[in-house]
Symmetry: C2
Subunit: 486 residues, 2 copies
Amino acid sequence: MTSPDLGDTTPADLEHILATANTAASEWAQRPAADHAAALVAVADALDAAGAELITVAQAETNLPEARLTGELKRTTFQLRLFAEMLGDGDYLDARIDHADPSWPMGARPDIRRVLEPLGPVLVFAASNFPFAFSVMGGDTCSALAAGCSVVLKAHPGHPQLSAAVGRICADALATAGAPAGLLQLVYGTQAGRDALLDPRVKAAAFTGSIPGGRALFDLANSRPDPIPFYGELGSVNPVFVTRAAAAARGAGIVREFVASYTMGAGQFCTKPGILLVPAESSMVGLLAESARPAPARLLNDRIQSGYTEALQQLRGHGSVQVLGAGDGAFDAPPAPSLSTTTAEAILADPEGLITECFGPTALVATYRDEAEMLAVARMLDGQLTATIQGEDTDSVAPELVRVLARKAGRVLWNQWPTGVSVTYAQQHGGPYPATTAPTSTSVGTAGISRFLRPVAYQGLPAHLLPGALRDENPLGIPQRVNGVL
Amino acid sequence: MTSPDLGDTTPADLEHILATANTAASEWAQRPAADHAAALVAVADALDAAGAELITVAQAETNLPEARLTGELKRTTFQLRLFAEMLGDGDYLDARIDHADPSWPMGARPDIRRVLEPLGPVLVFAASNFPFAFSVMGGDTCSALAAGCSVVLKAHPGHPQLSAAVGRICADALATAGAPAGLLQLVYGTQAGRDALLDPRVKAAAFTGSIPGGRALFDLANSRPDPIPFYGELGSVNPVFVTRAAAAARGAGIVREFVASYTMGAGQFCTKPGILLVPAESSMVGLLAESARPAPARLLNDRIQSGYTEALQQLRGHGSVQVLGAGDGAFDAPPAPSLSTTTAEAILADPEGLITECFGPTALVATYRDEAEMLAVARMLDGQLTATIQGEDTDSVAPELVRVLARKAGRVLWNQWPTGVSVTYAQQHGGPYPATTAPTSTSVGTAGISRFLRPVAYQGLPAHLLPGALRDENPLGIPQRVNGVL
């Protein structure tokens, strides 16, 4: 899929890129956060200015409609500006100052001051399904640049021309804003990505994609003589639990909303609700069989289409699974949105055979006989990005269901839908494995910056050698925790 | 070394322990932080009350003197109380509330609220060199319990009777304080530790010890079908850089302080200064050769003694290394404190042969010819727990040296010594690999709690289903970041 002009990065080119990224990281780390913020805004402005041109390139490479791409670009540039705003606050630095204290109960305390500092060059693996928001200038790149790191971006083969165009525009904008050369550079090809991941100059990596792909890179990062943090966002089936009360009160409305969510973007979102649990006695299965579904839409590329067909064939080969609506066109290209059914009992008997992520416009509807069975399914889940409850305020099962799901998922939703992940201060896009390889972090929202920062303590340093964030006079005007008090 | 009464944990016993730890984790996670705090204080009180008895057991098993053990127990119980105090603050929960906002620039924002929640059962591998402070009720256990996790503690074979006694006292105190049964349980034996690390109920692990041991467990944790966070504190040589100005101004004083630091605790600290860089032209090497050193002290156990002898023999076999003071008794048991010398030039030519952690009362003194050579050594260092500068305020090399060392080490010291790691709010005990396997975290200080917490976001939940930390009326009275503003 790589175009002739964008051949795989050669080892010699990669060496030059990594050397430059290393120098750029040192320079960028020493710049004030205000410089980092200004550069992010400059990049956002440049991308907005080039929007029409970029969206044309993206449409040609991804089959995604213009309206969707327009919204995604808006999200991307909004994210850059939101991170720039956060840099002005400075709370993300977690600055702590402990003055020397001879009466500290465990023994005299020295003067210790601690702040978060950039990790160094970060390798980002772009995703296919968000050619703007999780690609060259997506959330991982934005977080790493905001943290003061340089970025080596492994372009996704699904949109090489768009990657090159975005990379060029962003690099130009960064240079104009005074950033060091090579702060953001692109590499192409699987081998270049693997080689970069093993290079000692790379200090962290981020990835959004499939479980097998992400696991292979996670293992590679950990195989290094000096393992590095690997922030992989891998897979999730995003279960939805419909309580009996909710099914009785508004089953038809839930069906409509569910169909809209699992078919959004032709089902190519990591937060697509892939499993819907409904009470067996309700009319919801019938409503789902008859539900109006949007027209078929082409998937991102041929590889996604064939992966979708394979995963769906495997699921439908399971003895417990039936198609909801015959002759549903699920295996056509483009595939028609389609649903399958099974039971909670079957899931409990064979979770691995039935709970698998299937990227594309399909979902599995599972009927449960009682709340105990529904809770049992919740308890045996692997890690998830999201878990959703459709319930009523009076539901007695809700507190326990929330508790169980909060142990499994990074985000728990109530009477809303997981697709459409807003970029906010409180957003959490993560979860236990296999949702991610780093359950203590997020890849969406302002908290994502902490992935690329590490704490450094300074003991006994004279003021002129301390970072500004740790000086008593607080020249940056940021929140400081002094002797334990913010 | 395991006593007959404390044989290796059997698979059947381990299964029971893990099942109990899992149940305890669920219960403990739902208790308010005030309960967690009260339990930590109860444990501290119980350990203090049993101090004399415990110190007698510890002396018999570790060769450590009474005064040192008394101070270490004080540190241990102080740490528990400091964490209890932090739980009352609630800032560590990083509570964030984003209200729904239809005018959010990227599109209408839902109500999203995010808080840190306990990871689940934590497996802690105890260290040998701090039988109180990094063992059964050490910093890792304290952090995990404070976070709301249960703990399975792999006892160190170096002090099994003490481990059992501390475990019993702590379990009793926890039970009396109302904690669930099995909140803290001990396992014995290498195989039980490995089996526990691979068990799906264990959600994180912490380790303090050697590079080979820690790396093997890190690899095991990552080999799981569902990898978990592994917080390993492994190895560090803790370099000390003496500038020309400092050597000229106070070389004799630096020599005295350095000897006190590298021989403290018979050199069995992870922060022992293992390499001292001094200007070649100064009188410091001569002063170091003639320096008064404390009497030999027995090492923790036979395994440490033989490991020390091997590491020192290997170092002394290096062509560039000479003994500083002949017939120095370094290979006796107990070993006399001893120094060796080499040059910065030799280190730059063969870093792997010369920069190795050697647990015991020895250090390597390296002479540099000019500041460029000193900086070159700083730049080629692996990750370190600490790096120290002995300098003068007027040193022109200091700013660059601080910058370089801050990229290498978790803690940078100025005119102080790395041994004696105070437990404070701003402490940072960590660093890039091989100092640790998790450079974004700390194993000492109140920030260590975040290792055992993961963020969970709640979207659209009614107030009665939200955790207290995320309710608008803020019943816990903790810091909340509302719509991005603290």
